[in-house]
Symmetry: C2
Subunit: 328 residues, 2 copies
DNA sequence: GCTAGTTCTGTAAACGCTTACAATATATAG
DNA sequence: CTATATATTGTAAGCGTTTACAGAACTAGC
């Protein structure tokens, strides 16, 4: 089943069929109707590979993320995909599993499949690998950190804002001994959150910082929390670098026989879907995946269409108060 | 950058380049080495679309699911994708959003992209839509329910086993007033779970069944649980059709001032990643997404290779005991 | 009715690869 | 060294589209 058979049935040339499908050029209404009827009757779907081959555009986009099973990502994937499908684009997903080698594989796949552009939200984005994309002029959008260039844009996430709001919230609730459980320090975005905590403390005249290192996973959060609980003067409140860390910390606190928020206030980051299902529901910082995806998609589209200079895209983060914080 | 330039650089014909890439026919080691060197130097990646066009195989697989943000699916996606990437296949994901219209769109996309096969795990699999695939002889695997045929296989999930184990577990703990919160009844797999509950009760001589209807989401679980709590004689244990339902029920129980498992024992289904993070950790039934994905992939591959008659694929489910159940 | 302009349609050459088939090189036997 | 078999390579025809370019069919003006 191909365009030739359609052409034969509609008694026109393949060119005319192509033109009615794409309405790229004027086709006489009567002819177009005939063609459409033939398409309908033959149940014809154009072959995208042939299209790609000649047009150079695959109508496929790549989306590279660290780990789809990390509850942060599915919403991002979904929003991004929704955008794409709406515009007749396909999305192929690359899972790096936090593994630079797999990241290389992902990029290779993207190139082989001739994607029209790639959106990347991983920390393993080794510049050398990304070169593979820019060298081929494949538009690239980084959601996090990354350089802006003729073929790439960067979406800045305002981590500091959320951390400052969290800090302010605790401050108003009279907390003064506020600890922070950080993420892995090789991750720029994790460093940004920690630094925001430190600068926020300083600007409020609190000299005593307590930073414990986590790994953005549950286990690391629990371990860090156990350390904090062993301190001679344990914190009255804890801010964490992400929600999984907070969930781990929450478990450690409960396990130690303490209560949240009566004994310790706890704040997460990301607002993953399960954050409001913990006991108590977690006060956390919202980072809208939908907004992130929409912005990334728009940036990518602009890049693909070569729409002049690209704005400095930025995503805000905001505190949402739930049950895990309380005044002392 | 194409195969011609590689050929020129290696001083061979394009056919030889193609042959070394695919090692489809014998190529003299020396020549092959020269070709590979040229590929390396030119950083050549073959164009998959051209390949597909001529070979008829796209090396892409479709995976259609209901909702990627439902925590059940990401692991399935990941395992499936891992399998695929390992064999040089790409996966394109279709999200139906529980919407038959979007399901139709997904199928259309799969056909247009000429996927080599499709794996489907949704309840919206309207037979008329699926015809679109079978008519084109696109191998299809159903993970749940669906018909077996020359171009399709069915993975049976043994829901009954898990439910029976749950029931037995509660029975041994002396529970006799055991309720069940079901899923949406238009979903065959939900009906199977409910029926297993009913038959399990009967075989143990318990005549009094309590079935409340949920929707496989948190809210429905909470609502159903509130109804159960209003009963003159409330159940001492509740089995739910999936974990989200259980999480909703858990919230309703706690909200009513009761405790789990002291006042009511609770069992979920699926073992989503957050099931062991609830307070108390949820006793639930494990349905291995990895196993499901691996089986589905194998079935699909067999179908694609036309490997004779297909076994009756089946996935077991088993109870895992955690903290939400207790003897009375 | 003729011409110029406009609209519509057809022809055929790509796009980058695979693969019959043909041709050439190499090995083997006599 | 020649003849034959075998291993290796090259030629060229597709795969199903899109799209310059050319040609045909209208339309309008006179």
């Amino acid at each position: 089943m191909n365009i030739k058979e359609v052409a034969k049935r509609a008694k026109v040339s393949t060119a005319t069929v192509s033109r009615t499908i794409n309405d790229s050029e004027k086709v006489k209404p009567g002819t177009a109707a005939r063609v459409r009827k033939a398409i309908e009757e033959l149940n014809f779907y154009p072959n995208t590979h042939a299209r790609t081959l000649v047009s150079g555009r695959s109508r496929m986009l790549g989306l590279i993320i660290s780990d789809i099973t990390n509850p942060f990502f599915p919403e991002l994937v979904k929003s991004f995909e929704d955008q794409a499908v709406e515009r007749g684009q396909e999305v192929i997903i690359g899972n790096t599993d936090y593994n630079p080698k797999r990241m290389a594989g992902c990029i290779r796949r993207m190139v082989e499949r001739k994607v029209d552009g790639v959106a990347i939200m991983t920390s393993e984005a080794d510049p050398a690998l990304v070169t593979e994309l820019t060298r081929r002029n494949i538009p690239t959008v980084f959601m996090d950190t990354g350089k802006t260039g003729p073929h790439s844009a960067n979406i800045r996430i305002d981590y500091a804002q959320g951390i400052h709001e969290a800090l302010q919230h605790l401050f108003v609730l009279n907390h003064r001994r506020i600890a922070f459980i950080a993420g892995p320090m090789n991750l720029e975005s994790a460093r940004m959150r920690r630094d925001a905590y430190l600068s926020g403390l300083k600007s409020r005249g609190l000299s005593e910082s307590m930073v414990e290192k986590g790994d953005h996973r549950i286990e690391g959060g629990a371990m860090a929390m156990r350390s904090l609980l062993k301190l001679p003067q344990r914190p009255t409140a804890v801010i964490t670098s992400n929600d999984l860390t907070a969930i781990g910390a929450l478990g450690a606190i409960l396990h130690a026989g303490l209560r949240v928020p009566e004994d310790i206030s706890l704040i997460g980051f990301d607002d993953i879907s399960f954050a409001h299902l913990t006991q108590p529901p977690l006060t956390t910082v919202i980072l809208s995946r939908t907004q992130l995806a929409v912005t990334a998609f728009a940036a990518l589209e602009a890049l693909i269409r070569k729409d002049g200079p690209h704005a400095d895209y930025s995503i805000p983060t905001h505190l949402v108060m739930r049950g895990s914080t309380r005044a002392i």
